[in-house]
């Protein structure tokens, strides 16, 4: 039995950790980029990024002031039992975080029609739910979404697109973002399914471990060549020039109709995501 209070405290902690620590795989990818970066300003910029992340973790500080909006992905094992409300626990967890986090965070939640900003809002936090058949745990990933990369994400629906059309579209989106989404970025691509499902797939790809090779050869090859293509564009770290525009391109697809949506999600270099698995016995296992 998983109590409401545990979901509440875990979701608050996930948000705070995602703001103060970049994932280890992301740090490793940045270190690797620093080694291969040919541009002097680019190398220096990555070095300062690594310093910034290290200092934030050491001193319990925010890496970025744009703490984004709270976005949670929740997967519920079908053998799990809850005591109390799940959605409310996440709402309360976020309210706890806003009240308690040090240093305090800025208001980012924006009413889309009036642009008024606060710490609460309709449908906040954004939560998606999935099930995991036969599992006796709940998996929660918090990946706050901020404007730097969020404003450049896109979705377009094609009809029987060729691989070339799909890849051109990914390049087009990355080109439009150019220097602005705080590169080196992680690019997540979702192909097919339906309008809403493609966007979800793209988001899930951003959450994959950086550089993890796709199990499907056709996607692995596509990821590899698109990463090289994006890095040949030359926007570089913080968009002031260099070879390191993307750390990874992650792609997945779902079967579709002849109309095939392609969604492109982006994450900035701090690549915020934190996860936890809560067992039915109430044990918490943290992961990135």
């Amino acid at each position: 039995m998983i109590p409401q209070s545990l979901i509440r405290s875990v979701t608050a902690t996930l948000y705070e950790r995602s703001l103060k620590k970049i994932p280890d795989d992301t740090r490793a990818a940045l270190q690797q980029a620093q080694g291969s970066e040919r541009d002097e300003t680019g190398r220096r910029t990555i070095s300062i990024m690594l310093d910034s992340a290290a200092v934030a973790a050491q001193r319990d500080q925010l890496v970025c002031t744009d703490v984004g909006i709270p976005v949670y992905s929740v997967k519920i094992g079908t053998r799990v039992q809850f005591e109390g409300a799940v959605r409310q626990a996440i709402v309360d967890g976020f309210a706890d975080l806003v009240r308690n986090i040090q240093p305090p965070i800025l208001k980012m939640i924006t009413h889309p029609l009036t642009h008024e900003r606060s710490f609460t809002g309709k449908d906040m936090p954004i939560v998606t739910f999935d099930v995991i058949d036969d599992a006796d745990y709940v998996e929660i990933i918090c990946a706050p979404k901020a404007m730097g990369s969020g404003r450049w994400e896109e979705l377009k629906t094609f009809v029987f697109p060729s691989l070339e059309t799909i890849e051109d579209y990914v390049l087009e989106v990355v080109m439009r973002a150019g220097s602005q989404p705080c590169p080196p970025i992680v690019v997540g691509v979702g192909i097919g399914g339906s309008f809403d499902y493609a966007a979800r797939l793209a988001k899930q790809q951003v959450l994959r471990p950086v550089g993890e090779r796709n199990a499907e050869p056709i996607l692995a090859a596509m990821e590899e060549r698109l990463l090289k293509a994006i890095n040949a564009m030359g926007f570089g770290p913080m968009g002031t020039g260099g070879d390191s525009t993307a750390m990874a391109v992650h792609i997945d697809y779902a079967a579709s109709h002849g109309f095939i949506p392609v969604a492109v999600a982006l994450n900035c270099w701090i690549n915020r995501r934190m996860g936890a698995r809560i067992s039915n016995a109430g044990e918490v296992e943290w992961f990135e």
Binding site: D39, C64, S179, M233
Partner: protein, 234 residues
């Protein structure tokens, strides 16, 4: 076979490979001459007073007031105005607040307001991250102004430069939308648009656009290598 993603033997970015980066320690306010000495790619460390805000309503109001011939609540003429967001902790005694941290925001969303602000205030320095458009660049060239790129996600390091809050205006806005003047010491940034009209962003965008045909060509070649025989349609 060798992969050809872009022209061979080409510099990784703005041609700065192997070139020593110039570093300037600058005391604000800057003279026209000092601003015009700065070039794209230079590193700067600035000390003095800077004014910051990331509020769209703030920008709109600033420009509207100036166009109406009204004075802003602080004298920004010849000053440094950056798209940095900060958390202000109000003082218990009603005195000046404390700035707990700061970090840049994307500047392009203020494109509509920046040329007017730059011209009317004769700003010497603007900045944030991601750059400004060609109209802003033209106004910067005209008045003698540079754009500084600060590290996004550089909050812990950039905040070390904060010395004190000098003033805070339009306090009816949320913290990051206020018009706040900070005293900073050794605030680090890269000159990304200079007063000669050179913009790293424009150069990089143009170069990426120029490279695109070759990148698409190489993608095509890689696709063919990955799938030597096309799948028959079923």
């Amino acid at each position: 076979m060798r992969e050809k993603w872009s022209g061979s033997n080409e510099a990784g970015s703005n041609g700065a490979i192997g070139v020593t980066i110039n570093t300037h320690a600058l005391q604000l306010p800057l003279s026209d001459e000092a601003v015009r000495r700065l070039a794209v790619g230079d590193q700067v460390r600035i000390t003095g007073n800077i004014t910051i805000s990331i509020g769209l309503p703030t920008h709109k109001r600033m420009l509207a007031d100036l166009e109406a011939g009204q004075e802003l609540p602080l004298d920004l003429r010849g000053g440094a105005f950056f798209h940095l967001s900060s958390y202000l902790e109000d003082a218990a005694d009603g005195g000046l607040p404390r700035a707990l941290y700061m970090n840049p925001s994307t500047s392009t969303r203020y494109n509509a307001y920046m040329p007017g602000l730059i011209r009317r205030l004769g700003l010497r320095m603007v900045g944030g991250k991601g750059g400004l458009d060609a109209t802003s660049v033209a106004s910067m060239k005209e008045t003698g102004c540079v754009y500084l790129s600060f590290l996004g996600g550089g909050c812990p390091l950039l905040s070390e430069a904060i010395q004190s809050v000098v003033s805070s205006h339009w306090n009816e806005y949320i913290s990051q939308f206020r018009l706040v003047t900070l005293r900073v010491r050794d605030l680090a940034a890269t000159v990304a648009i200079d007063a000669r009209g050179n913009s790293l962003y424009e150069n990089l965008h143009q170069r990426a656009a120029d490279r695109l045909p070759q990148i698409r060509e190489e993608l095509k070649r890689q696709r063919e290598l990955a799938q030597p025989s096309p799948q028959p349609s079923k």
